[in-house]
């Protein structure tokens, strides 16, 4: 692992998120260095997904605090600008865009990320490479984006996009949910492949099981809009054994977890 003397790859300082006037995320501090994989774990309804979408710049959310990528403040940027700078959000529920093929979408996304019109031949090769890496059937390319895809297919496509777009930091929101064990292995392999000395990953998850396949450097427990505890991989195992309630009891401000 490389030493990091520069500013951390991705940092959050006192990030607060309100949706329709209600505060959901209540002050988050987070620091992800290049080469690190972090797990953000918490019960349903704790605000994990809201945090992930807010970091990407969801237009419906009011966000305060600092969000920095390599020291650069992102808060004022539109989601597409953040994406072109290297932030990636893997969606818990990827959105269908009927009539738009996976291939045409991916080419537009890759061209946007690279800031140039990626030639068709070069794009085809890169897409095929990413398909192969994730055992994605060839017919994916001609299908309409997430339209009629099964849950597992959608998640594979998310990971595939991450591999193609080569983000600096990937925020993966419940990418492991709704997957059978084979799909989980494929998706985990994709996450490990995307991980590298220059990349940071934040795995947002409800369950410990993906952490059997992806070794995190840090684990954060997220409850009622806050990180209530941070630790190493052992914290994930403790959550697996004891659930979240003991942490709820230990933190007086936390609401009851689900």
């Amino acid at each position: 692992m490389t030493a990091n003397t520069n500013p951390a790859l991705f940092t959050c300082r006192d990030v607060r998120v309100s949706v329709a006037g209600k505060e959901i995320v209540k002050g988050v501090d987070l620091e992800i260095n290049a080469g690190e994989k972090h797990a953000l774990m918490g019960p349903n309804g704790s605000g994990k997904s809201t945090l992930a979408a807010a970091l990407m710049g969801h237009p419906a959310y009011e966000v305060s605090g600092e969000i920095r990528l390599r020291g650069e403040e992102l808060s004022a940027l539109e989601p597409d600008e953040r994406a072109r700078k290297g932030v990636f959000l893997g969606f818990q529920y990827p959105v269908a865009v009927p009539g738009v093929t996976v291939a045409s979408f991916l080419r537009a996304a890759l061209s946007a990320r690279q800031g140039r019109e990626v030639p068709v031949r070069e794009f085809r090769l890169k897409m095929q490479e990413s398909f192969d890496a994730l055992d994605v059937p060839k017919d994916f390319a001609g299908r309409y984006l997430n339209d009629g895809f099964s849950g597992g297919e959608k998640k594979r496509l998310e990971i595939m996009q991450m591999l193609m777009l080569e983000p600096a930091v990937a925020l993966l929101d419940e990418t492991d949910s709704g997957l059978d064990i084979d799909a989980l292995k494929v998706v985990s392999a994709g996450v490990n492949k995307a991980s590298g000395p220059d990349t940071g990953i934040l795995l947002v998850t409800h369950y410990q099981r993906i952490l059997d396949h992806v070794q995190p450097d840090a684990v954060h427990v997220f409850m009622d809009g806050r990180i209530v505890r941070s630790g190493g991989p052992e914290l994930a195992r403790e959550l697996e054994e004891r659930g979240y309630d003991w942490l709820a009891d230990a933190t007086s401000t936390a609401a009851t977890g689900g």
Partner: protein
């Protein structure tokens, strides 16, 4: 824009252009038309004289004021100035301009179709008015009495036309045109006609009628391209009549003009007939584009489908009314109709009324209509992959019209997409 206070009252009759039977007969004689056509026109003039402007209370005209589509002076003997500039492809094509013989290119001369003017002295009344009689309505009666650019296209029995015939109909700057097409596909003939409406300015009015007679086992594809310049007003009526086992595909792109009403349809008059009407319209700025579709099943064992999409931006407006009518003597008919509308701005408006009139049992019908803004979650998803807002919006709209484009003639798909593309590229821009 329309004066809201007058929306439900008939337009003032004083603005109706005057036309009497004697003037019509004289116009016809001046052109050297056949006596039978002169008689036919004179009869239409009497129909026009007793026909009121369309009633706004009826669904068909609820959204558009017919008074705003009226031409100025009828029988003005317009001759064109700018139509010579129209680009002609190498494939069969004909340019239709009032006061001039139709200009056929070499490919049109030799393609096997019989193409003739209605103003040449030959008896062209056979089949004329069968699909769109003067009694169809006010604008149709006006066209029948006073059309000034008439063309008959006949596909002889068993002809299989390899390339589409393009009929270019230029609107004329500051003037009116009343074009009339009669397309006859004889038994087992196959052809594609592209009716291409181009040109014009804010002083142009076009009142067009297209009749298509599809004989037994024949197949006609009719592609209506409406790409007038800004400001043109117009009313276009198209009807096909399908005999036994005939097939019809009507494909429409509604792009140009300021205020336009297009009335499209087919009558399924023989068992085994199949008709499909597909359309895409993309009104922008302050355009008012109104489309009506009709599938009338007069024979049993017939099938029809309608798929019409509108994506509306700026302060533009789309109106769509669709009617499926299954007559009493048409058991075993199947008819489907779908209209979807995408609203791309706060002030864009799309109205839709799908209607069913079913007078028999033993039919299978469905219809549906939706109008909704673009899903913001779709835009966020695309943005999260780096696509700027305008590009994301364009992608969503392309996807929206894709399933309808798929139903259009494959060999013309590239041309249709190119037409739409220049329009799509303006979406999400500095509107």
């Amino acid at each position: 824009m329309a004066d809201r206070a007058t929306v439900d009252t008939p337009s003032a009759t004083s603005t109706r252009p005057q036309l009497d039977a004697a003037a019509v007969t004289e116009f016809s004689r001046d052109r050297g038309e056949s006596a039978s056509l002169a008689t036919w026109r004179a009869r239409a003039a009497t129909v026009l004289a007793r026909t009121e402007l369309p009633d706004r209370v009826r669904h068909l005209w609820r959204y558009t004021d017919p008074g705003k589509l009226l031409p100025g002076k009828l029988l003005a003997a317009t001759t064109d100035s700018g139509a010579a500039d129209v680009a002609i492809p190498d494939t069969p094509a004909v340019v239709l301009v009032p006061g001039q013989p139709p200009r056929l290119n070499a490919a049109a001369e030799s393609c096997g179709l019989v193409i003739e003017t209605m103003h040449g002295g030959g008896d062209v009344t056979e089949g004329l008015g069968r699909a769109v009689p003067g009694e169809h309505g006010y604008f149709e009666a006006m066209n029948a009495a006073a059309f000034d650019a008439g063309l008959v296209v006949r596909a002889p029995r068993n002809l299989d036309l390899a390339e589409p015939l393009r009929v270019v109909i230029p609107a004329i700057d500051g003037a009116d045109v009343l074009p009339r097409l009669l397309v006859i596909a004889e038994t087992s003939a196959r052809l594609t006609v592209v009716e291409d409406h181009v040109g014009g300015d804010s002083g142009s009015v076009v009142i067009g009628v297209t009749e298509i007679l599809v004989g037994a086992n024949a197949e006609v594809r009719h592609v209506l391209v409406q790409r007038w310049e800004n400001g043109v007003r117009g009313h276009l009526t198209q009807r096909a009549v399908l005999e036994r086992d005939a097939r019809f595909l009507g494909a429409t792109t509604g792009l140009g003009g300021a205020m336009v009403k297009v009335d499209l349809g087919a009558v399924l008059a023989g068992p085994g007939a199949r008709s499909e009407l597909v359309g895409v319209t993309l009104p922008e700025h302050r355009q008012h584009l109104d489309h009506h579709t009709v599938h009338q099943h007069t024979s049993g064992r017939t099938w029809s489908n309608i798929d019409f999409k509108a994506a509306v931006t700026d302060r533009a407006r789309s109106a769509y009314t669709g009617l499926i009518r299954i007559e009493k003597d048409a058991p075993g008919s199947e008819a489907f109709q779908e209209n979807r509308n995408l609203l791309l701005s706060e002030r864009a408006r799309a109205d839709t009324i799908p209607e069913l009139e079913i007078l028999t049992d033993d039919v299978s019908c469905s219809h549906g209509a939706t109008a909704a803004p673009v899903d913001p979650e779709q835009l966020f998803y695309l943005a999260s992959r780096g696509l700027p807002a305008a590009e994301a919006l364009q992608l969503v709209v392309r996807g929206f019209v894709e399933s309808t484009l798929c139903l259009m003639p494959a060999d013309l798909r590239e041309e249709i997409e190119t037409l739409l593309e220049s329009r799509l590229r303006r979406i999400g821009g500095a509107a």
